[in-house]
C-alpha cells in the first residue's frame, strides 16, 4: 500500500517512523537494564538481610540477660520500699505470750505478708489472727493452713497465715 499524502496546511508534518522506533528500542533496552538492576539489587538486599539476621542473633542473649537483671533490681527496690517499721510495729502489737512466730516472709510484689507461727492451743491461734487484724495495718488476714504437731508432747498448733498490706499502690 502506498504511504499517505501529507500536504496539510495546519497539522504538523509527520515525522518518519524510524526515529520513533529507535526511541522505542532504546527505551525498551533501558527498561530491561533497569529491571535487571532492580532484580540484582533485590537479591543483594535479601543477602544483606540474611547476614544481618545472623549477626543480630547472638546479641539477643545479652539483652535477655540485661532484662532479667533489670527485673531483679526492680524487685529489690520494691522490697526496700516496703513499710518495714509499720509492719514490725503491727506484729509487735499483735504479739501474744502463747504464740511464737517461726517465720515472717513479706512478698513485696504482691504486697502480702506470710507468717508461720505456733500456738499452744487452737483458740490462741484464732485469737492471734483477730489481734493481727485489729492492728489495722492489714486489709485481710486469713489462715492458710494449720496442723497439730503430734510429735510434740505439748501438742502445739502450727499454722500459716497470709495478710495483705493496707494502703499504697500495688
Amino acid at each position: 500500500m502506498r504511504s499517505a499524502l501529507q500536504l496539510d496546511f495546519v497539522a504538523p508534518r509527520r515525522r518518519g517512523r524510524a526515529p520513533g522506533i529507535a526511541v522505542l528500542a532504546v527505551s525498551l533496552g533501558l527498561a530491561g537494564a533497569i529491571l535487571f538492576k532492580y532484580d540484582e539489587t533485590q537479591k543483594r538486599l535479601r543477602e544483606l538481610d540474611a547476614v544481618q539476621a545472623l549477626l543480630a542473633a547472638p546479641r539477643a542473649a545479652p539483652r535477655a540477660h540485661a532484662e532479667a537483671e533489670m527485673k531483679s533490681a526492680q524487685a529489690a527496690v520494691r522490697q526496700l520500699a516496703l513499710p518495714w517499721a509499720q509492719l514490725i510495729d503491727s506484729l509487735e502489737r499483735a504479739a501474744m505470750k502463747e504464740v511464737a512466730l517461726l517465720n515472717i516472709q513479706p512478698d513485696a510484689q504482691n504486697r502480702v505478708l506470710r507468717v508461720t507461727a505456733e500456738a499452744r492451743r487452737q483458740e490462741q491461734m484464732l485469737d492471734y489472727l483477730r489481734r493481727l487484724s485489729a492492728t489495722g495495718a492489714f486489709a485481710e488476714v486469713h489462715l492458710v493452713n494449720h496442723q497439730v504437731r503430734e510429735d510434740d508432747p505439748a501438742r502445739p498448733v502450727q499454722f500459716a497465715l497470709q495478710a495483705s498490706f493496707r494502703g499504697g499502690a500495688k
Binding site: 500500500m1 499524502l5 500536504l7 496539510d8 496546511f9
Partner: protein
C-alpha cells in the same frame, strides 16, 4: 458519539462566492466539542510535480517546491503557503489560511486544512494499483487529473472543467515512451 472524545468533522470549502461565509456558518453551528478538518476545493489549490532527487532534507524539498512555483507563477507565488510530499507540491494563498483559522474557536478546533487531492487520495490509496493509475477529481467547474506511476507522482493537471478522456489522451501523446497506467480511478 462519545462525550469524552471530540467529534471529528470534515467541512468542505467549496468554490465560488459566499463559500467562506458558508464555511463560517457551518463552523458557527458546531455546538459539541469537535476537531475539524477543512478540505479545500481544487479551485484554491495549485499543484506541481517537484523532482525530489536534488533535495536532501524536507526543508530543501520545500525550498525547491517554492522555487518551482515562483518559476511557473512569478512573484505572486511568494505569498503562497507551500507544502510538498513525495514529489507532489501544492500551494494556496496565505491570505485564505488567515481567513479560515479565525472561523474556528470555542468548541470547534481546526486540526487540518488539506487540499482535495490529499483528502481523496488518502481515502482511496488502498485501492490504487501498484503499477499506478490515472486519478480523476471532478468538481463543478474544475477537473483535476493526476498520473500516479509505480514510482510516484508523475504528472498533475488542475484546470477548468474538461473532458477527462481528452486530457488523458493529450498526456499520453506528451509522455511518449513512459509506461502509462491503464486504470482510471474517479476519486
Amino acid at each position: 458519539m462519545s462525550l469524552l472524545w471530540p467529534e471529528r468533522l470534515t467541512l468542505a470549502l467549496e468554490a465560488g462566492e459566499g463559500a467562506l461565509q458558508e464555511l463560517a456558518r457551518k463552523a458557527g453551528a458546531i455546538r459539541r466539542r469537535a476537531h475539524v478538518t477543512v478540505v479545500l476545493s481544487n479551485h484554491y489549490v495549485r499543484y506541481a510535480i517537484v523532482p525530489g532527487g536534488g533535495a536532501a532534507t524536507p526543508e530543501e524539498e520545500l525550498a525547491l517546491a517554492r522555487f518551482h512555483f515562483t518559476k511557473i507563477h512569478g512573484e505572486r507565488a511568494r505569498e503562497w503557503e507551500v507544502r510538498v510530499c513525495d514529489g507532489l507540491a501544492c500551494a494556496i494563498d496565505a491570505a485564505l489560511l488567515r481567513e479560515i483559522r479565525p472561523l474556528f474557536k470555542g468548541k470547534a478546533r481546526l486540526v487540518s486544512v488539506q487540499p482535495y487531492l490529499m483528502h481523496a487520495y488518502n481515502g482511496a490509496r488502498r485501492r490504487i494499483p501498484r503499477e499506478g493509475a490515472w486519478l480523476v477529481l471532478a468538481e463543478k467547474g474544475r477537473t483535476c487529473l493526476a498520473r500516479l506511476a509505480a514510482k510516484g507522482w508523475a504528472w498533475v493537471h488542475n484546470g477548468p472543467e474538461g473532458d477527462v478522456e481528452a486530457l488523458i489522451e493529450r498526456e499520453r501523446n506528451r509522455s511518449s515512451g513512459e509506461p502509462l497506467p491503464a486504470a482510471v480511478l474517479k476519486l
